[in-house]
Symmetry: C2
């Protein structure tokens, strides 16, 4: 079975071809232009590919409320031409197949829960920490949508006592994204994060912010696994520092082996789907849409 | 159809009788003693009541992982005799009917989503703010369990700039419960919250803490309704103050009518089931267990 997988990013689109095992068989990518041009390339790519379903993990904010007339739209993005653009219905005009549609981070969470670091679990959180911070929420076997969709990158933070940086988020200043995304790292230390040595104090401060956000997420949602991806998390020295922060902040309140020394190394982890994480997530979305269509 | 509903509290147990409309037909309550004595009274109450299902909303922490051998146990409570006590299997010995089992706050969230303030919605958060702070999470039509269960009363806070109180939580000091539960109010102001006038600055500080916790919950989970119950929330002057804090902290980032002026009055609300909230939640748990048993 062939499934089409679209990683619809604000900077580039990746179109791929996968199967029900989560294997990526082909991929192309191109820059995101206006929606008409961009979707024309998507349609062109899949025209002769015989896919039985399509999954789209999209940049946002997007409308994922199936009962809404705006379901399938990109909504309030600053990206020219994309405001309120009906991505899903435009693709449906060309492909009469089940199409799964969700945020890129929800797709990544689903992909990791299907074939990756959270394989077989019915809940996980997927954080991407890069130029921004996004959070995908998978709970009780479903992607969480709710009123709009999770925007957990903007949760409030307690400031690190040694941190005088005001924060980069244009909305909130010192929210998680404002303090811990790549641009905040660079603005605070006057050098790109990727150029800071692994033992630089920047990483302990970074772990301070990420760790506290995870603590509140663990308390509120009790996920079975937390997966941290994105460019900043390529700094693998962050993982032990973040686990330490989480334990220091929880103070033993949640009694479970997963949060104890040893257990936590398997609880807060990198994605295992690597460069295919986005495409695998979109394949999983497509597969789920296909299965739902068969059951209904 | 008659459904038994148990509010299993750490201080008192309430046993009730309800129907599939969420109507409470009878109730008794008695103090929580050791588990053997207490469950004997529960069993005695339902022995001749002909209930077709039972729902139990319990004090915690409890095990609600159906795949665990400890499913149905109270786990690490300081309450004498209750540590690792198998509440559910003890009741199953007497009643061969479907029994729903969840945290008291998840039950309350389900009750409000079935018959109350979130009626018809597939997601809501239920906060009880009283001697402690508990949070029930209902998302995508299901109670969220995860690794253990939500413990959202203990999320971290940013301190109010005028607040010198160190916090009451024995684990975290100044977490939400440590700063905003009834005992924290009393310790900070040296008088019971119920005796403070409605225009006392205590309420603005209280709203500061509750509001910021709601902001992080809205960002992480995007619930369709937030219901605030418990003794502290009998101070209805808190509602407008909390809504103001939420809007001030979100800074317009999540664009949806529910969070705009006007909309937010219907978004952050008191429970509508009033004194029956706990029992209605347990009725809803029992009803759900009954329906699941029929489908399987």
């Amino acid at each position: 079975m062939l499934i089409g997988a679209v990683e619809a990013g604000g900077t580039k689109f990746v179109c791929g071809l996968g199967n029900e095992k989560g294997e990526v068989l082909d991929r192309v990518s191109f820059p995101t232009e206006n929606p008409e041009k961009t979707l024309a390339r998507v349609i062109e790519y899949y025209r002769d590919k015989q896919v039985e379903a399509l999954g789209i993990g999209s940049f946002g904010p997007i409308n994922i409320d199936r009962s809404s007339p705006q379901y399938g739209h990109v909504t309030t993005t600053p990206k020219p031409g994309w405001v309120n653009y009906p991505v899903l219905s435009e693709l449906k005009k060309s492909f009469d197949i089940p199409i799964g549609w969700d945020t890129d981070v929800n797709a990544a969470a689903l992909g990791e829960a299907t074939w990756g670091a959270a394989k077989g679990l019915d809940s996980c959180l997927y954080y991407t920490i890069g130029t921004g911070v996004g959070v995908g929420v998978f709970a009780e076997g479903r992607m969480v949508h709710g009123l709009v969709h999770p925007e957990g990158g903007h949760v409030l933070t307690r400031r690190h006592p040694d941190d005088t940086y005001e924060g980069k988020c244009p909305y909130h200043g010192d929210c998680l994204e404002g303090m811990a995304a790549g641009p905040a790292l660079e603005a605070r230390w006057k050098v790109k994060g990727s150029e800071l040595p692994a033992d630089h104090p920047a990483w302990e401060m970074e772990a301070f912010y990420i760790g506290q956000a995870l603590v509140s997420a663990i308390l509120l949602l009790s996920p079975k696994k937390i997966i941290l991806g994105g460019g900043v998390m390529h700094q693998l020295q962050l993982f032990p520092l973040i686990r330490e922060q989480v334990r220091a902040n929880l103070k033993g309140y949640v009694a479970t082996p997963a949060l104890e020394i040893g257990g936590i190394d398997e609880y807060i982890v990198p994605p295992t789907l690597g460069d295919n994480a986005g495409l695998c997530g979109s394949i999983a979305l497509g597969l789920r849409a296909y299965e739902e269509a068969r059951q209904s």
